[in-house]
């Protein structure tokens, strides 16, 4: 296990970064942005190697046995930290809200699982609500719109926190999205099982983003972002798509999601 212990003193909060599988596979820059934001806020960050997936796909597909096994893997890898933080409300919502449900009948494991859930947080809400971060050192000269993921909005109650930090990004203007409490159509396996319905939902969201007048769409969940970026590309829309952590960490100088060389 490697950490950045040298940077911070022993009494700074020790955060285990839950990278999430989508960030690990698809968008490593979001992981680095998360590390940067956490360290700037005074945390000691460790990235456990023995992490993969939180188990949500299995859980949402009714495969409770595998979901529990993956939850236990997360427990083993992250139990030692002061906090578990990750750049996704969907995965952290699973850990926070659904892990205790999965082990509701397991009196031996439940206390450990509940302790893990209680210290697990989505990145932006952790910065604002737990660490009291009010501003970030970043600039982004664009008009953006922000897509609230359903798990952020309804499982974790995250709405004001990203807006608060975005307001401190110099040059950034936020135009709100019409119908921001409506799902983008990702829904995990839903999007491949019911592509026509999912596609219509994504199209409506893409059109709303365009109507907002923003040139960039931000969100805190890579599932939504891949869905929306993929739909933007298919519909030939010029709107660029980034994870909010990339903008907050001043690391949105890389190619946007789905952007090519040409």
């Amino acid at each position: 296990m490697v950490s950045t212990e040298n940077i911070h003193s022993a009494d700074s909060p020790h955060v285990g970064l839950f990278v999430t599988c989508l960030v690990d596979l698809y968008r490593p820059s979001v992981g680095f942005a998360a590390v940067k934001l956490l360290e700037q806020a005074g945390c000691r960050v460790t990235v456990p190697r023995a992490q993969t997936c939180c188990g949500q796909p299995a859980f949402n597909s009714g495969d409770d046995r595998h979901a529990r096994q993956l939850a236990l893997q997360v427990l083993d890898a992250f139990e030692e930290f002061d906090y578990v933080v990750g750049p996704s409300a969907s995965c952290l919502g699973t850990i926070r809200c659904h892990y205790p449900e999965m082990f509701a009948d397991d009196a031996a494991l439940l206390p450990r699982i509940e302790a893990l859930s209680a210290k697990s947080h989505e990145l932006v809400s952790f910065l604002v609500d737990v660490l009291g971060v009010e501003t970030v050192e970043a600039g982004f000269d664009h008009c953006v719109t922000y897509h609230d993921s359903c798990s952020a909005l309804r499982e974790l109650g995250i709405k004001s926190q990203p807006r608060k930090l975005l307001a401190s990004v110099s040059g950034l203007e936020l135009n709100e999205l019409q119908g921001t409490d409506i799902c983008c159509g990702f829904g995990g396996t839903f999007c491949v099982k019911y592509p026509e319905i999912s596609g219509r939902m994504a199209a409506d969201k893409v059109n709303a983003a365009e109507a907002s007048g923003a040139d960039t769409l931000l969100a805190g969940d890579l599932g939504c972002l891949l869905n929306l970026a993929g739909k933007m590309r298919r519909e030939g829309k010029p709107t660029r798509v980034y994870h909010i952590a990339e903008v907050l960490a001043n690391m949105a100088d890389c190619k946007s999601i789905g952007e090519g060389d040409d």
Partner: protein, 474 residues
Amino acid sequence: MQPNSRHFQANAESALREPNLQSALKQLESGFVAGRQRCYDALPEFEALRDRAKEVLDHTLDNLDAYLLEYEARVLESGGLVHWAGTPEEAREIVIRICRDAEAKNVIRGKSMIGEEIGINDALEASGFEVTETDLGEYILQLGKEPPSHIVAPAIHKTKDEISDLFLEHHRDLGFTKRQTERSALVNEARQVLREKFLAADVGMTGANFLIAETGSNVIVTNEGNGDLSSTLPRVQIVTAAIDKVVPTLEDASLLLRLLGRSATGQEITAYTTFTTGPRRERDADGPGEYHVVLIDNHRSEMLGSELRPMLRCIRCGACMNHCPVYGRVGGHAYGWVYPGPMGSVLTPLMVGLDEAGHLPNACTLNGRCETVCPVKIPLPNLLRSLRSRQHLQRQNSSLARIALSLWSWVALRPRLYQLLTRPAMTLLARLGASSGGFRNMPFASGWTRVRDLPAPQGSTFQARWQQQQRDRK
């Protein structure tokens, strides 16, 4: 009605290509959703009422047997009769027997979903009775020989033009030879036709929004007053109601009424809220001579004994479907049976079988908007997930999905193998997609690429880069 839920996918795809339906569904957000929000904002105790309602209904369900017996005793005291039906077949037989015993010919119905659930109209017609729906929406659907597509606004999918055509076709013989195109003229024409039906009816059937144990009363809410006419004019009244409709007291019913209209249509209260108790008494000016209640189980006692019990709190407001992004795109008919949307996706598999309705628990993004607006706090996403677990245990889900997910889980449970496999795979995918930024087609991911591109990944995985960076630092 015959369930058609196994064709959800095809039903949904054709619904997406139906322009009239799509424009009707677009009204949901500006109509019902905005209306509910206005009511919510205007009532500071809305959340407290939701908590209280959940409490009352949970208590009722915990003691359902006792409250049902209390209700029955009060109905008998008031001079009515209570019939118990385990299945839709039994319920239909009971209703037909009552109608035959009364030597009835004409039956009028106030709108009720339980009537749809037990398929009462077809059964009555097959037994030679003339049945007329008196709710305007249901009447339109009866003319068009269609099932409802929404539990509160059954004909929400119908345009004014379609209704003009239906009325002209069916009312021409009654002397209405002009095709009406104004809303008020259409309503007026329906009113004239239905008035005759009300006056000629022998039996009036209604459902029940609530049954009150302490008084033996039934409560119906309508906006047209048709329920009142259906229950007071004919000489025989039949109330069909599911066993989960009972609440202990009048006080409890008024609590639920405060939530019902607000959640359903954005009305503080519906135009008519009617309490009826028993048949006409000696000094009453009007009312039926006979008063029957048919109490129907239809799998509800199984639900009571399972993890799906919270579904029995449902008060049929329709807020879940009004707020459902899937319902809002495909409409009610796609779900293929009586109850659509989130509540229907829980109920339908339980009532017609998980085999027939296996799509419904899966055709949901688990976005949770339904649960947020449910006036009685039913955890709909969790209930849908429970049904998915049942499917998984009974191996009723698609084998391809099972294999893919098991494989993913198997690899994800072995982090070293996972990292060994994903690093080269993502590097390759990134290289292939680098210049264009994404893929229009991807083998094994056609569900994704049919409607959107697959964005290319950045390159090697985060774990690989992070470990490299840590090594470089040392």
